[in-house]
C-alpha cells in the first residue's frame, strides 16, 4: 500500500493533469490552440500510478494522448502548455506540438502521432538499458487500439526472448476514435501477451492504488532482470477522441448515460474519498491542493500565452546535428 504521503502526491498529480487539460479544452474551444488536441481526462490514475513507480532515469513512451504521461513523469506544465500553443518557449520549441511532447531529461522519449509508434521505441530503450546494465526500466503506454498493430506482437516476442526490462501498459479506454473497441478487438488483449509466457495483470485503471501496485510488481521484475510484463488498465475516455470531435461528427457513437456512469467512477474522486475516509486529508487540505494546482495551471497558461511564436530559423537549424542543409 502506498504511504499517505505517496497517495497525496499522486492525488495532486492527477488533479494537475485534470485541471491542465480542462484548461486546454477551454482554450481549444476559444480557438487558441492549433492542430489536434487529444485529452486524457478520466485516465489520470493510469499514468500517475505507473509513473509513481519510476524515477527520472527510467524511460516512457507515450501516444497521441500524451499530456497525462508527460506530466505524470515529471514534465514541466509550463513547457508543455507552451508547446501545445506552438511557442518557442515550449518543451520542443514549437516543433512538435500536442502530439509530440518529449523531455529526455525526465525520461520522456515522446508522445507519438502514429498509433503503436511508441511500443517498439520503449522496447529499444529497454534493450539499451539491458546492455548498459544500469537498472533502468522502460514503460510503453499505448491504447487498446494500438494492440491491433502488428508491432505489438513483434515486440512481445523479442522482449520476452531477450528478457528486456520493459512494461507494456495498455490503456483500455473503450474507444478507437469513434469505434467502440470491442467491435474491432478479438479476444482479450492480455491473452496476446500471455501467449508469449509474459506475466500479465488486468487492473481497474480508475483505481490508482491498484495501478500503482501492479506497476510496482512489473517494474521490480524488470529491474531485477525478470524481463517484460504486460498490464492492461481498464478505464474510460471521458472527453471526445479529440477536441474537434463535436465538429467532426454528425451522429453519436456512445450514450451520455454511459459517460455519466464512468464519471461516477472518476479516479480523482475515488482517491479523494479514500483519503477522506482514511483521515489523511480534510476539506481544508484538499482546498490547499486545489489552489496549488490551479496556481500551476494559471502560471502555465500565462507562460504559454506570453511566449514568442516558434523561431523560423529552427526549421532549418534542426535538420542535422551541427550542420545546416
Amino acid at each position: 500500500m502506498p504511504t499517505t504521503e505517496q497517495l497525496l502526491s499522486m492525488y495532486e498529480r492527477m488533479l494537475l493533469i485534470r485541471r491542465m487539460e480542462e484548461r486546454l479544452s477551454a482554450d481549444y474551444a476559444a480557438g487558441k490552440l492549433p492542430g489536434a488536441v487529444h485529452l486524457y481526462i478520466g485516465q489520470e490514475a493510469v499514468a500517475v500510478g505507473v509513473c509513481a513507480q519510476l524515477t527520472d532515469r527510467d524511460w516512457i513512451t507515450s501516444t497521441h494522448r500524451g499530456h497525462g504521461h508527460f506530466l505524470a513523469k515529471g514534465g514541466d506544465p509550463k513547457a508543455m502548455m507552451a508547446e501545445i500553443w506552438g511557442k518557442r518557449t515550449g518543451i520542443c520549441r514549437g516543433m512538435g506540438g500536442s502530439m509530440h511532447v518529449a523531455d529526455l531529461s525526465k525520461g520522456i522519449l515522446g508522445a507519438n502521432g502514429i498509433v503503436a509508434g511508441g511500443i517498439a521505441i520503449a522496447t529499444g530503450a529497454a534493450f539499451g538499458a539491458r546492455l548498459d546494465g544500469d537498472g533502468r526500466v522502460a514503460v510503453a503506454f499505448f491504447g487498446d487500439g494500438a494492440a491491433n498493430q502488428g508491432v505489438f506482437m513483434e515486440t512481445l516476442n523479442v522482449s520476452t526472448l531477450w528478457g528486456l526490462p520493459v512494461v507494456f501498459l495498455c490503456e483500455y479506454n473503450h474507444f478507437c476514435e469513434f469505434t467502440p473497441s470491442e467491435t474491432v478487438t478479438a479476444g482479450q488483449i492480455s491473452d496476446r501477451a500471455r501467449a508469449f509466457g509474459m506475466p500479465c495483470a488486468v487492473v481497474d485503471g480508475n483505481d490508482v492504488v491498484e495501478v500503482w501496485r501492479a506497476a510496482g510488481e512489473a517494474v521490480e521484475r524488470a529491474r531485477g532482470g525478470g524481463g517484460p510484463s504486460f498490464i492492461e488498465a481498464k478505464t474510460y475516455r471521458i472527453q471526445g477522441h479529440l477536441e474537434a470531435e463535436a465538429v467532426i461528427l454528425d451522429g453519436k457513437y456512445r450514450e451520455e448515460a454511459e459517460i455519466e456512469e464512468w464519471r461516477r467512477r472518476d479516479p480523482i474522486d475515488r482517491l479523494r474519498e479514500h483519503l477522506s475516509a482514511a483521515g489523511a486529508c480534510d476539506d481544508d487540505g484538499f482546498a490547499e491542493i486545489e489552489s496549488r494546482v490551479s496556481g500551476a495551471v494559471e502560471e502555465a497558461a500565462a507562460f504559454a500565452a506570453e511566449g514568442e511564436p516558434a523561431d523560423p530559423e529552427l526549421a532549418f537549424d534542426l535538420m542535422f546535428v551541427g550542420q545546416r542543409p
Binding site: 492549433p34 489536434a36 506552438g86 502530439m99 476514435e177 469505434t179 474491432v184 516558434a310 526549421a315
Partner: protein, 325 residues
Amino acid sequence: MAELTYRGAVAHGIAQEMERDDRVYFIGEDVAAAGGVFKTTGGLLERFGPERVRDTPISEEAIVGLVMGAAMTGLRPIGELMFSDFLATCWDIVANQIAKTRYMTDGQVELPLVLRTANGGGLRFGAQHSQSLENWAMAIPGLKVVAPSTPTDVVGLLAASVRDPDPVVFFEHKGLYAAKEDVPEGEIVDELGTAKIRREGDDLTIVALAAMVPRALEAAELLAAEHGISATVIDVRSLVPLDTRTILDSVRHTTRLATVEENPRLCGWGAEIVSIVAEECIWSLDGPVVRITTPHIPLPSASALEDLAIPSVNKIVESVTKMMV
C-alpha cells in the same frame, strides 16, 4: 449541376461506383459508422450495408493486405488509410506486394484496387500527420498515382481509378476538403493520365498538383494584374501515368516553366517533370526553370512555421517575378 464539396465528392464518387458494380467494396478505420474522420464517407454504410462498407481495427497492414488479396481474387476494393503518413506502417504490402505481384506472376493476376488517403499539410497536425507523400508512391514502379484538386475531379478520377485494372494510390488533400464547386449531374468518369489546363497564358507555364493548384491559380491572377505576366496553370492530376504531352506543348508555347510542389524538395515530382522538359524541349526554354517546393524538412507543427514551409500564393508570385526578369 449540384454544388458539392471536395469532401462530399468522395462519398459521391464511391457511391457511384458501388451502385454500378457490386464487386466494389470499401474498408478503413472509422469510415463506416462514423462516416470518416474527415467526414468524407458519411452515408455509405446506410446505403450499402455493413458487408460492403466496413470499419476495421487500427491495422493498416491488414487493411491493405485485405484489399490486395480481395483484388487478386476478383473484387474491386477501395481501402482507406486515414492519413497518407500511415502508408509507412504498411509500406511492405504497398511497395513490395501490390506494386509487383502482377508483374512477377507474368500477369496471372490483376490488382484492380484503390487506396484512398488524406495527404498534405496546413492543418497544424505536426510532422507525422501532414506530409505530402505523392512522390513516395510515384517512386515505386507498379503503382498509379492520382491527386485531384477539385470536387468534380474527385468523382471522375475516383471512378477512373476504381475501373482501372491496376492499383491506384489516390491522394486526397485534407486542406481541400471544404472546397466547393458545381458538379455535373449524372455519372462522371474521367481518365487517368490526363492533365488539365486550368488557365491559359503566354509567358510561362506553372505546373501544380492538388492543394497547390488553387494557390497557383490565385498567384497567376496576381501575376497578371500586378506584374503583367500571363501564366498557364496546369493541374497535373495524375503523376503516374503522367500527361507529358500537355506539359511539353505548353512549355513549347510559353518557353518558361515553374513547378509548385507541396512535397519536400528532394526527389519531388517536379524534378521529374523538369528532367522530362530538359530532355524533350530544352531548346524551347528561354530561361532557367524554377521549382517552388516545401523545403527538405519535416513539417513543423507551429502555425507560423508550417505556413512558411508550404508554398504560399506570395511565395509563388515572388519566385515567378524573380525568374521572369
